[in-house]
């Protein structure tokens, strides 16, 4: 397809077009160029693996309480110690990874999906649809993400699903706005005009040509959003609006730990580290992807 030539400027696609050996060499080049980005990606993959196989990694039942092992130091009981209920913190952080990572990814997937749809359609069709859609986006964006999430969770009640809904509602408008402006720019570019001339339907143009070209920017936004969603989930927990007990999420473990910060700081240190490393990696990955995708920055 001739129009694809335009998108071939995207390095990722360019990579995939070439042969096996070249592909590996290019991959190596990327790794060399973005060592931290690569590391971040590996860390995130590790998180996903831990999340999926949590029962394999966990050494204890993350829920079972034990009066004999309360407030034990790391190393005395379990490698991360125990909490006020005598529960093994390592196992709770492992299971927490499962919950936090799935909340992060689900939310971002949903938000990006909604944003791509609303932003794409609104930008492409323009006119009244655009005007109305943008007012809706404006309305949602007018509230600070956390304020909106607080109110939405209060309305729906505290549960994992409701946290995802609340965070999706507060995440999508920001992404939608960027997608729209990207589509507006692309709409007037020659390759879309060309596609129009060949008589392709609107839906097909959006699906085949516009969206794939917004993918890079979506990737960057999504990785940043995963980071902020993880933080937001922890913050909701702190305010008593997060994942309800006894389910361990990083946020809920951290929140419980606040009460014992002086007495047993390890309860909070490990889930805090888990969050920091995850957010750090997600942000770095986003940065690296952007550097990689911006042709002007490639040497």
């Amino acid at each position: 397809m001739s129009v694809d030539a335009a998108s071939a400027s995207l390095p990722l696609q360019g990579m995939l077009l070439t042969g096996e050996r070249t592909r590996l060499r290019r991959l190596w080049k990327i790794v060399r160029a973005q060592p931290l980005g690569t590391l971040s990606l590996l860390v995130l993959v590790a998180y996903v693996v831990i999340a999926v196989f949590a029962p394999v990694f966990a050494t204890h039942d993350p829920y079972s309480i034990n009066a004999a092992t309360t407030y034990k130091r790391p190393g005395v009981v379990g490698i991360m110690g125990t909490d006020n209920f005598g529960r093994d913190i390592f196992s709770r952080v492992i299971y927490g990874t499962r919950i936090s990572v799935s909340i992060g990814f689900t939310t971002v997937l949903l938000a990006t999906g909604i944003a791509a749809f609303v932003g794409g359609v609104s930008g492409f069709l323009g006119g009244t649809v655009d005007l109305l859609a943008q007012r809706v986006v404006d309305t949602f964006q007018a509230f600070p993400a956390l304020v909106l999430a607080i109110v939405v969770v209060s309305v729906l009640g505290t549960s994992g699903v409701n946290v995802v809904i609340a965070l999706t509602l507060s995440t999508w408008p920001g992404i939608a706005r960027v997608v729209r402006s990207q589509v507006l720019t692309l709409k007037t570019s020659p390759f879309i005009e060309a596609a129009r001339c060949t008589g392709l339907s609107d839906a097909r143009i959006i699906w085949r040509h516009l969206l794939p070209n917004t993918l890079p920017i979506l990737l960057v936004l999504a990785s940043a959003s995963v980071a902020s969603v993880i933080i937001a989930e922890a913050t909701l927990s702190f305010l008593g609006l997060g994942i309800p007990a006894p389910e361990p999420s990083w946020g809920s473990i951290l929140t419980g730990a606040e009460r014992y910060a002086q007495r047993a700081p390890w309860i909070g240190i490990f889930p805090g580290l888990a969050i920091t490393i995850a957010v750090f990696s997600a942000n770095f990955l986003g940065d690296s992807v952007r550097d990689l995708l911006d042709p002007r920055l490639r040497q």
């Binding site: 829920y63 079972s64 309480i65 009066a67 309360t70 006020n84 209920f85 005598g86 209060s154 009640g157 505290t158 008593g240 309800p244 007990a245 006894p246 419980g256 606040e258 009460r259 014992y260 910060a261 002086q262 007495r263």
Partner: protein, 591 residues
Amino acid sequence: MAQEQYWDRIATSRIRRRTALKGGVIASAGLTTAFLAACSGSSNNTNNAKPATATAAATAASVAGTSAAPAASASAAAPAGSPAAKAAASVTPKKGGTLVHQINADPPSLNLWTEFTYVVNVAVAPVYNQLLQVDPLDESKVIGDLAKSWEYTNNDKTEIVFKLQDATITWHDGKPFSAEDVKATYDWLSNLPKGVVSQRTTAARNVDKVEIVDAKTLKFTLKKPQASFIPGISSHHFAMGAKHIIDQTNTLLDSNQQPVGTGPFVFKSYKRTNVMDFERNKSYWRPDRPYLDAISCFIIQEPATAITQFLSGQLQLLRPFAVSDLAQITKGLGDKGTIDITPSLSRAALIPNGTKPPFNDVRMREAISAAIDRDEYNKIRDEGKGFKGAYLNPKGQWGLPESELAKFTGYDGKQDLQKAKQLMTAAGFADGYKGMMPVRTDFEENAVALQQQLKKAGFDFTIQVEKSAVLTQRATDTQFDLLCHTWATPFDDPDDGFAEMIISPDRAGRNWAKITTPEVDRLFDLQRAEFDPAKRKLISNDCDRAGLGNYPNMIVLYEPNLNARYNFVVDFKPQVSQYTNQRYENVWLSK
């Protein structure tokens, strides 16, 4: 007892930190918490005009603390007015200084008549007097406040004559206090204006009429005899209001929503979410009181913040705080301060839904009680400092003896999984039961512990954490399977203890389980009209037993009440009830 002596011996028993730890909770209590005065009919307290001195009972108490009998040590306070106490070196209380303490939330308003939360009276009580008060030294006694004495004047015990203090008393706005104010206050409390809610003043609703006999004498006529009436009206929520203000605003607060009273401290300012300030009432009617120049009450929500502020000396009192913080506070305070541990009237409890299966079946309720490990719960949640009990404070005057309590399934403190399973099988739930366990945000951790214990017996409860707004609705609408809650009563009195949750739902304030035990209702009415404390106790114990046997409300544990203060805060003694002794009239700073 003569009040002369009373004011002479104003001093509190103090347990030094180490004593408190050594002696454990029981030691620290001083817990003869009964309201004997109520039952004894009349008490002729005479007013005193004599300046008081505080005896250094502290010395006596700390000596006692090192003795071998921990249980006895704390309560001592060197028997009031005893030669021993008098012999101890008398310390003249120092005047001046500002007492700085804290509450953990903004009260919705400063109205003691209408607000429910205890933070209102902890903050605002110093502004007011009541007709009667609970003895700051001995929680089991009611003594005079604006009334110097009172007396039942008929055999039915429905007529009470109150004699007011002889001193000239003025309101903070300068107007004189008179019997008219008492009548206006009790007229308002006994017959609330439409739409006004006043949960903490229910005793006043038993008042039929109030007559002014002469300038210093009032006669109250009650609708029904009530043994708990006198202690019932001695809490800070029965703050004396001024007639001229009630006429104007139809409530306790003036038109600026500010409190005006006759009390030892004058309300100065309130900066919401930060601080309330009070200053000394220079023309207070009780001579030489108060000692303090001012009180500042800060609003600090995060416990961790309050603890750091306390340990840094920016707060002088810290209460109540969590058991889990005891170690840190003990260490941080060193020998500069004192920690008092008393039982509280807060009961961690499980409340079953009695309106539908399975918990309309008493066997399933009993199974829950069998499946709870109260001792383990005590270790995990209260570090062993909680108390097993029935519906009335186990360490108080009315509590059921422990040996009696242990006869009921689970109340001996041990988990009995076999019995739980048997009961469940008999009720048709051999394979276990799945249900919802709602809990208010602040009690979430209690639910976590109980959920895990119940799991072992085959009860699989999903915890549903709710903000109080939603939990209230669920509870009143009976939308739950098993509710995890901590419920508290203002006084250690059978009336309060049973009327809260245990008597039948159409009479009880909040029998959320909606379970009726006819025998409980019958015994409740009996004890209510019984003025002989010994007989009343026997009936109360029967009532406790009748209630326990039907398992309408599984008391898991009475939680301890922890208070910390610096040693230079003298003559402050926390009581079991949080609605009494919050006036700081006799408190002074020795630094």
